[in-house]
């Protein structure tokens, strides 16, 4: 069974030869090829070489195309900062006053280096692995992107008190999401991975979420492929039932402390549940501890045909020992 077949069987609930898995090793590719992150996140070729190294070392069933939301924000005009051994971050949002929302326009794909980085990264990955692996392409939720463009506080304020600006911003980010998401799929993504760091019960109220649902429904319905909702770095169970009902959503990645049983009870049985090994915490774990956590998850989901082992939250840190990751991979592959 190839990785792609394994993932496809999980989507339909058919038996697989072993438990399927994926890990967020986008940043870790830079570590494996000893590449500076400032170069890695600018060069589709270097990034691709990093992912080739990921396949060589760990061979996950789902490969993840370039993952960096600040780069997406940069395409809109936000300023970035690059740090050694970390993914880039937003130094200064493009909007610092509400009146500047008029400046918000969709980036031009042909002239934006940041967008081209994503697109070429997917093309490279697809060219080599399309027939053997599933490819998950992260893209910022249209409801989350504004938090990077104007800062979280201003986006919360806008959602609470400025309905007209909210509508204008949501139309722009939704159109961008649809255009970029469909281009990812055209270039070979098997599905989109949509983290919702902002659109979670930890950040927004029920009322705000209810107001955002129509925008998400409309945007997701225009995507020409499946969508995986990723927890980003937040708990999402409180909204999971409504995420699961959005158009094209096939899977949900849970936060490490969330319970699969609870998620299963509030979502339909065909939704694939993924998770929930803490990716950023990998660096702090001994091999024994990592294996123990891994086995606990595998035992819990042993009889669930719609389950994929995955790291939750953000990237696995650059400094994580290769052996710790390998220990978890071997545990999954040998699990019966």
């Amino acid at each position: 069974m190839t990785s792609l077949e394994r993932i496809m069987c999980t989507l339909t609930g058919e038996p697989t030869d072993c438990m399927p898995f994926t890990m967020l090793l986008s940043l870790y590719g830079a570590s494996l090829i000893k590449c500076k992150t400032s170069e890695y996140y600018r060069s589709p070729q270097m990034w691709f070489e990093g992912q080739e190294a990921v396949v060589e070392h760990f061979n996950p069933d789902i490969l993840i195309s370039p993952f960096s939301f600040p780069l997406e924000a940069e395409a809109f005009g936000s300023e970035l900062i690059f740090l050694d051994k970390y993914a880039p971050n937003v130094r200064k949002p493009m909007i610092t006053k509400l009146s500047q929302t008029n400046l918000l326009v969709e980036p031009d794909f042909d002239t934006s280096d940041a967008i081209q980085f994503f697109l070429q990264g997917i093309s490279n990955l697809s060219r080599k692995y399309k027939h053997t692996h599933a490819i998950g392409s992260p893209i910022h939720a249209p409801t989350d992107l504004p938090a990077l463009l104007m800062g979280m506080e201003m986006w919360i304020d806008t959602l609470l008190f400025h309905p007209q600006e909210t509508d204008r911003i949501m139309r722009i980010t939704s159109d961008h999401f649809v255009k970029m998401g469909n281009e990812f799929l055209n270039r070979g993504a098997t599905f989109l991975v949509v983290p919702v760091n902002f659109t979670t019960p930890m950040i927004i109220t029920e009322k705000i979420f209810s107001n955002l649902i129509p925008y998400l429904t409309e945007a997701f319905s225009r995507i020409n492929g499946p969508i995986v909702i990723h927890n980003g770095g937040a708990k999402i169970l409180g909204f999971a039932d409504r995420f699961a009902k959005l158009p094209n959503v096939i899977a949900i990645v849970l936060e490490p402390t969330e319970k699969f049983e609870e998620a299963r009870s509030i979502t339909n049985h065909n939704i694939v549940l993924m998770g929930n090994f803490d990716g950023p915490d990998f660096v702090n774990m001994s091999e024994e501890k990592a294996i123990s956590k891994c086995v606990k998850i595998l035992d819990n989901r042993k009889h669930d045909p719609h389950f994929i082992f995955a790291t939750s939250n953000a990237d696995i840190p650059y400094q994580t020992p290769v052996q710790t990751i390998k220990a978890v991979v071997n545990t999954i592959r040998n699990y019966k």
């Binding site: 740090l83 971050n89 130094r91 919360i156 959602l159 609470l160 109220t205 705000i208």
Partner: protein, 220 residues
Amino acid sequence: MEITEKQKILAELISEGEKDSAVKMLTDWAYETTFKEVIFNVLEPMLVHWGKLWMQGKLSLAHGYLSGKVAEEFYLIASTDETFRTNKSETKGTIILGNIEDDFHPLGRRLVGIYAQAAGWNIIDLGSDIPAEQFIEQAIAHRADIIAISAMMFTTAKNIIKVRQGIEQAGLSEKVKMAVGGAVFKLRPELVGEIGGDGTADTAINAPELFDRLMKMKQK
């Protein structure tokens, strides 16, 4: 109406995002009783309770933001009330608050301001992207007891060193304590000492306790 009933109504209005109605209701209650009564018995207990629920993951950040906005607007109205001004007890001290130069992540800072004000501190909030010199100038102008600085990332946290240098150069190190906070200090606690901070708090709601500690250090 019982105080608990008032707190419940206020919580419902804030949860629904009805900021203006919440402020109006607090103001009406204040005119029925006193601003002091409403602040100390209704608003502040609710802020503390919500802060705890937020830390436990039972309320969203937007709830915290909303309650902060309500408190901010109500404090402003209270400050125009002559009786309240006359009766207002002495503040614990003055804090100059701001995000350091190049830092544009204000949410944590604003929450610190709200909780500290609720706890009795006089807050001078300078905003985001504040150069070191401005912190020092304002500390001198307002005879501040504490300079509280927020930074989210390592790169911006390093700019705080300039504030420490400014404090030393102005001969204020005995008079002004420097509190630092933000995501980077939770990840790298050793950074507090490295950039010259006198202390940090891991959440906004714990900031008033930190300020109390720093004030005691100062008085020793």
